[in-house]
């Protein structure tokens, strides 16, 4: 955790040595030359744009994570639209794009918007979504009025205010980047210092309040930080799409982990990746605004996490479900083979497909497919032109385990839960595939190491698992049965 923050902090120092002398205005046009120029980092505009994008990726990722886990994602959207009048008023302060004046104005406007949402929610019957949408659009409209007014009275000198709408990372100057760095460091430090408090209030506000944490205060500190990170992201991403840089990387990180500090780290990394990619593509094609490109990058990351996230991804889950049901199918085949063998007191080595098909009440072809499936997983071998199935030691062991699990559970339900013996089969049929070794030991202890299930059939024990069919009366010399080690 601490190392994570240290890493981010050190990362912030990198821009200091990147600032070198500018190389002059070169005007290549080919894509390759442009890319080379971008990656040589000798153009100050490129450096500022890149460093700015990285900084905003970090701060938006960190703050966005808290928004997402607090279910306040759209609050970020409202806040980011509400800063627009502040940007315009900050510009009006001395009719120039002064980063500090715009920063102060935008932060104040954002906080005012946030306060208005809370006030509307508290004093009227209107619900949160209405309050959010209302403040978002109203403040944005005030901002639009002010901006168009500025355009109309001072033609030409509005000095890149347009960049605040859709973002233009290329318009970042040295002062902007320094301000962004200061704010990002502040955000990283505050989050590192108050990590425990933020975590607790985000996940269990009632407990935090009971434990004496200043929940409301922490909430407002978070809002202030949020307003800060929105404001510094404005120039590169634009008012309209800042919320995406807050929500999307954090939501992608949320899909990949259950630990908050990992989520913070991942969200920052995703934010930085999206930001840098946006800056790069915007640089490659001069008439594209940066904001939408960054957002597309972040969305791509989200889609990948949504589909292929190892634990929660849609495709991964589908794949797990498929392999799980294939495994259950295999285990049912093994169980059927065991039952056939048991039916003739473990005489003879192989089970013919015909016997298996009769046992499972399926066609020969279906059973043949299932046997081949066992063969590919080295649970069985096929003999006599594929008409006879012989279990391998692994297959025999798993078959014994499944039958044991089934019969133990039946006995448990009958003895301990007092369920009639003819009602326990279906339940055991489901649970036999998921009982772990630990649970089985516990069941055996509880049932006093019983050897017969409620229907009077023997429960395969540890010895059977290890020694194959020997104890049960099966032929010891049969290849594949006896497991000598």
């Amino acid at each position: 955790m601490r190392y994570g923050f240290l890493f981010i902090f050190l990362g912030l120092l990198v821009p200091e040595w990147v600032w070198a002398e500018r190389i002059g205005d070169i005007s290549e046009t080919s894509a390759f030359e442009q890319a080379r120029r971008f990656f040589s980092f000798q153009d100050p505009a490129v450096r500022y744009a890149l460093v700015g994008s990285i900084l905003l990726g970090i701060s938006c990722g960190l703050l966005g994570s808290f928004l997402v886990v607090r279910k306040m994602a759209l609050f970020g959207d409202t806040l980011s639209h509400a800063v627009l009048p502040g940007v315009a008023l900050g510009f009006l302060w001395n009719m120039s794009k002064d980063p500090v004046a715009i920063f102060v104005g935008a932060t104040l406007a954002g906080l005012l918007g946030g306060a208005m949402v809370t006030l509307i929610k508290q004093t009227t019957r209107l619900k949160e979504d209405t309050a959010l949408g209302l403040v978002l659009a109203s403040f944005f409209a005030i901002g639009i009025c002010l901006l168009t007014r500025i355009q109309n009275i001072s033609t030409g000198s509005k000095g890149g205010l347009d960049a605040y709408l859709f973002g233009q990372a290329a318009s970042l100057g040295r002062d902007d980047v320094i301000l962004m760095a200061i704010i990002t460091v502040l955000a990283v430090l505050l989050i590192a210092i108050f990590y425990k408090e933020l975590l607790l209030t985000s996940f269990d506000a009632a407990f935090a309040r009971a434990a004496g944490f200043p929940v409301t205060m922490i909430h407002y500190v978070l809002m202030l930080l949020l307003a800060f990170s929105v404001v510094i992201a404005l120039q590169a991403v634009g008012v309209v799409l800042v919320s995406a840089m807050l929500i999307t990387p954090a939501a992608a990180a949320y899909l990949l982990t259950d630990r908050m500090h990992v989520m913070l780290l991942l969200a920052s990394v995703f934010g930085v990746t999206a930001g840098a990619a946006g800056a790069f593509f915007s640089f490659m094609s001069t008439n594209l605004p940066t904001g939408p490109l960054m957002v597309m990058g972040a969305s791509l990351v989200f889609v990948l996490a949504f589909l292929f996230g190892p634990r929660h991804g849609v495709v991964s889950r589908w794949w797990r479900r498929q392999s799980r049901s294939a495994q259950i199918q295999r285990e049912n085949t093994l169980k059927a083979i065991y039952h056939v063998l048991e039916g003739r007191s473990f005489e003879g080595e192989g089970v013919s497909l015909r016997e298996l098909a009769e046992k499972r009440r399926e066609t020969i072809d279906e059973v043949r497919g299932q046997s081949r499936e066992l063969k590919t997983h080295q649970m069985a071998t096929l003999h006599e032109d594929g008409d006879s199935v012989h279990l391998t030691p692994e297959g025999w062991q798993r078959a014994c385990e499944i039958v044991r699990n089934h019969r133990l559970w039946e006995l448990y339900l009958t003895n301990e839960a007092s369920i009639a013996p003819d009602h326990v089969h279906d339940d055991a049929e489901v649970i036999e595939h998921v009982l772990g070794e630990e649970t089985v030991r516990q069941l055996e202890r509880t049932l006093n190491h019983a050897t017969k299930d409620p229907h009077g059939r023997p429960i395969p024990g540890l010895m059977d698992l290890k020694l194959g069919g020997q104890i049960m009366g099966g032929p010891a010399t049969v290849p594949g049965y006896g497991r000598t080690t």
Binding site: G133, R149, G291
Partner: protein, 349 residues
């Protein structure tokens, strides 16, 4: 800068003359604004009731992707193409939000945020790639071009008797040329959309009402709530795309929410709320138009600022639960009750 930021208010110039000498410019804009706010506001009422105000926000943003897609595929801005593009975008947004929400552990608010920002970004990129081929740009996306509405005109033939009847009116020459009525195309389209919205709400009033308030009752009455939901989203997309041209993607959200929110503060009966919505639309149109004339700023922006002003007035001075009324009641209670009762009650609460 030689001009003051807030210009001096001139009654003659900012209020009277738009309705006299510039009537042919004023009337289409005002009518357009009124139709946009009315149709949006009426639909918005149901969004507010269903707690879906932010889904409205999402659709109004992602409609841009639909428009941009149509522009890329057909290379133009035909009305039917736009309507189809908007419908597709609206349905895609609704489905995507539902998909993300259902198949991952991302909550609905984040799902809304991700969906509409992605589609909006896609739309902006597509429009930028096609820049110069069509008259649609970033400014139009943000705050519309309602000031250009009067420029695009359509001629409609009307009966001769009407022409003669209208001939006596002042300034009739501005609107009747060669025995034909000349109207702005945008206004005509928006008027039709508004009529369709009103007709649909009137026809399906019961279904909308029941499914908005009590989905279980709706189910028992045989109303397909899911169907109503998608129908409402489709209608919303149509309204948004029609309004888009004149007020832009983001200010449309204000048109959707503000009239309804104001009306909801003043009444709890849906028919009354509907009437108040139309009244709010008319008032904010007039106030906003003159505000824009006075300040010389974006008309669409000024419309929303006026609408917001009306909301704040209703918030403070509302009859039932305005802030002022609440405060007065609270003071009266504190004065009338003996001191110890207020003290003990404050202890118990």
């Amino acid at each position: 800068m030689n001009e003051p930021f807030i210009p001096a208010f001139n009654w003659q110039e900012h209020v009277i003359s738009p309705w006299m000498s510039e009537l042919s410019m004023t009337l289409p804009i005002v009518l357009m604004a009124f139709f946009v706010i009315t149709s949006c506001g009426l639909i918005g009422n149901y969004l507010i009731l269903r707690r879906m105000a932010l889904v409205g926000d999402a659709i109004s943003h992602s409609v841009l992707a639909g428009i941009a897609g149509v522009v890329v595929f057909t290379g133009g801005l035909q009305v039917t193409g736009l309507f189809i593009g908007a419908l597709v975008a609206g349905v895609v947004t609704t489905v995507l939000i539902e998909l993300i929400h259902r198949y991952s552990r991302v909550k609905q608010d984040a799902a809304i945020g991700i969906t509409f920002t992605t589609l909006f970004a896609l739309g902006v990129i597509l429009i930028n790639l096609k820049a110069g081929q069509v008259h649609i740009d970033e400014e139009c996306v943000l705050y519309g071009e309602i000031a250009f509405v009067p420029l695009d005109q359509t001629k409609i033939s009307i009966p001769l008797a009407m022409v003669q009847a209208m001939d006596n009116l002042p300034l009739a020459g501005e609107f009747i040329k060669g025995g034909q009525l000349v109207v702005a195309t945008g206004v005509l389209r928006m008027a039709i959309v508004t009529l369709v919205v009103v007709a649909l709400i009137w026809a399906f009033y019961k279904e909308l009402l029941v499914s908005s308030f009590d989905s279980a009752l709706a189910y028992s009455l045989g109303i397909n709530a899911n169907m109503v939901h998608y129908a409402l989203m489709s209608l919303l997309s149509i309204v948004v795309v029609s309004a888009f041209e004149s007020v832009g993607a983001i200010l449309v959200v204000a048109m959707l929410i503000l009239p309804g929110a104001t009306a909801h503060l003043l009444s709890t009966r849906l028919p009354v709320i509907m009437a108040l919505t139309v009244l709010h639309a008319a008032l904010s149109t007039l106030l906003g138009f003159h505000l824009a004339k006075w300040l010389d700023c974006s008309i669409a922006g000024a419309l929303v600022v006026a609408a917001m002003g009306l909301f704040v007035l209703a918030w403070i001075f509302g009859i039932h639960d305005g802030l002022l009324g609440k405060w007065l009641r609270q003071r009266r209670v504190q004065h009338e009750l003996p001191e110890e009762i207020t003290q003990s009650s404050s202890l118990t609460t």
